[in-house]
């Protein structure tokens, strides 16, 4: 897959296969294209996909609108969750769930069932019940916003979750809560792409594979130990290796 923004090529040919139940970490230095990858997969329109395809359960995601991608089971946990004053978290989630159910030819969720689900999933990330009733992310702290992302993920039960720098701006306690929530959502059917700059998050969410993204390409892939190596040596050795290869 290739993608560009305002004529500038950001992703320059990237191949990745994620099987059900797998957790893939995408690491890389600033500006390597990590967040672009997350945004392109979710369908952000600021990016132009200039080539390639993204097959998801037999469909090309690139042909689908952002909402249809979500309805097919894709979930992006935002690096910077948006504040939406005037839209209550609960109303927002109910609308989302029912739109997804409609897409799948299911009846709207029963109010009772919905409330039970909210109660159950809030516990996963220790989200205060009061926050669920407030406007989406409005006045939430950085940690609360990230927990709310994972709470939404739990509510929507996606097949593929993309975590975009979910660790950024989190203190260690919040990081533990968020990671714990994610780990409880791991299952043989559900896959994760964890985009992160630091190895720290991967201590808690242990990946099956680690890929290094640099200058819009995956330049190195390996087992989880690769993350530790990156932590130890930094990204410079990758850059050096890559420039030799190019």
């Amino acid at each position: 897959m290739q993608a560009s923004v305002e004529g500038k090529e950001i992703l320059r040919g990237l191949n990745l296969e994620v099987k059900p139940g797998e957790v893939h970490a995408i690491m890389g230095p600033n500006g390597s294209g990590k967040s672009t990858l997350a945004s392109v997969l979710a369908g952000r329109e600021d990016y132009e996909v200039t080539g390639g395809e993204v097959l998801f359960n037999g469909k090309d995601l690139l042909d689908l609108s952002p909402e249809d991608r979500a309805r097919e089971g894709l979930f992006l946990a935002f690096q910077y969750p948006i504040e939406i004053p005037g839209v209550s978290n609960i109303n927002f989630l109910k609308t989302a769930i029912n739109e997804i159910r409609e897409y799948r030819d299911m009846d709207p969720i029963e109010p009772k069932e919905f409330l039970a689900l909210v109660k159950e999933k809030q516990k996963l990330v220790e989200l205060d019940g009061k926050l669920a009733n407030r406007s989406v992310n409005e006045g939430f702290s950085g940690g609360e916003k990230k927990r709310n992302e994972i709470f939404q993920m739990a509510m929507l039960e996606p097949k593929l979750c993309i975590l975009d720098e979910t660790d950024s701006g989190l203190d260690i306690d919040a990081l533990r809560i968020v990671a714990n929530g994610v780990n409880q959502l791991r299952s043989p059917e559900r896959s994760f792409i964890v985009v992160t700059h630091y190895q720290r998050l991967l201590d808690y969410i242990v990946p099956d594979f680690v890929h290094v993204l640099y200058q819009g390409k995956i330049v190195k892939s390996g087992p989880k130990e690769l993350a530790l190596e990156l932590e130890e040596k930094g990204y410079d050795w990758i850059k050096a290796e890559t420039s030799v290869a190019i």
């Binding site: 369908g43 952000r44 979500a70 309805r71 005037g86 989630l93 609308t95 739109e99």
Partner: protein, 432 residues
Amino acid sequence: MSLVINQSPVERLTAHFEQELPSLYGDAALRREAMATLREKGIPDRKWEDYKYINPAALFKQPHVAQARVGLEIKPEAVTLMVLQPGSALAVVVNGELREDLSKLDRLPAGVRVKSIADAVVSDAVAREYYNAVNGTSADPFVLWNNALNKGGVFIHVDKNVQSEVGIHVLHISTNEVAAVSHPRNLFVIERDAQIEIVESFETLGPVKTFTNALTEVVVHQNAIVDHYRMQLEGQVGHQMNTVNAVTQKGSNYRTYTFTLDGAWVRNNLNIRFSESHAEAHLFGLTMLNGQRVADHHTIVDHAIPNCMSNELYKGVLDDKSLGVFNGKIFVRRDAQKTNAYQTNRNILLSDDAQINTKPQLEIYADDVKCSHGTSTGRMDEDALFYLRARGIGEAAARKLLVRAFAEEVVTNVPNDAIRAYVENRLDHFFN
């Protein structure tokens, strides 16, 4: 059809006035004086600062502004469809005249009177005392026009200490066989320590163009509480000038809610004057515009007296090629110390061709005051839109949610459940 051509709009208005005068109620001298002043001042055009964006002169060139009216018959079933809350008393005003046969006024408690103003200025001392008193020496052309030609409207009088549980819905309907103007004229006098809710709604029936030049005077006496709604729901043929001149006394609370949800052309002049201290005024407004509709809100809050509070929040949603205007004046006069005055106007433009002109205008001559104003205009938040879509919410539904959210800040201030539900329902159907 008249054979007279080449008449200027003012000449046609004058000729029409002379024709109508013998059949009009009340003080003919007052009417003649108003007409003379109107003739002298002329009809506002783009050169008038207060009317520059909407140019009423263009409207006055159309023949129907000086045409005799032929009303259409209204069936009670049609009225039923326009009732906003079943529990309140209903005063139906058709083409500017109270129709007691269509109204339901027997629900009102003792001490609350709703009458035809044409009768009241003859038989009721309070109506006589206040009729045109709040307008004072206003030289606004639409006030003068209404003074010259109004055929009636409602007089509402609430006795002191009466807190009415039952609200009053004043339903204004414009309906004509041929295009015409009507001049509803209202006077609300709320005595001390009384409380009332008055919901005015404006509707049109039938396909012909209408112009409604409504004028309402409001007197809120000491410690009285008034909730005054204006629901502007006239259809695509409806043109409306709506003037409210209010004066409030010590410790009173006058709350206004202006919902401009339909109508081809709407201009509101809402003027509130504090005449005694420790009074409050609240001005809430929500405007939803699409197509080529026009809505212009001019508000004046006159802090003529110390220790009063005013709070104004107007929001606008503009789509297609619509045009909106907000002009909010706040005067804090030299002796009006300890004034609190707040004003906010926010707009979102949903299309490239929609236009909003917004102008907060604060003139403060006292030094110990708290005043603030803020205005913002923007597009729909694309990041928020993407966030909602990324959770599986379709684009249309996401836009709807965001418009609802934008309007919520105003809607949440509406104490009347039925009105709030009505507005929310209209918001949800705005895009359909």
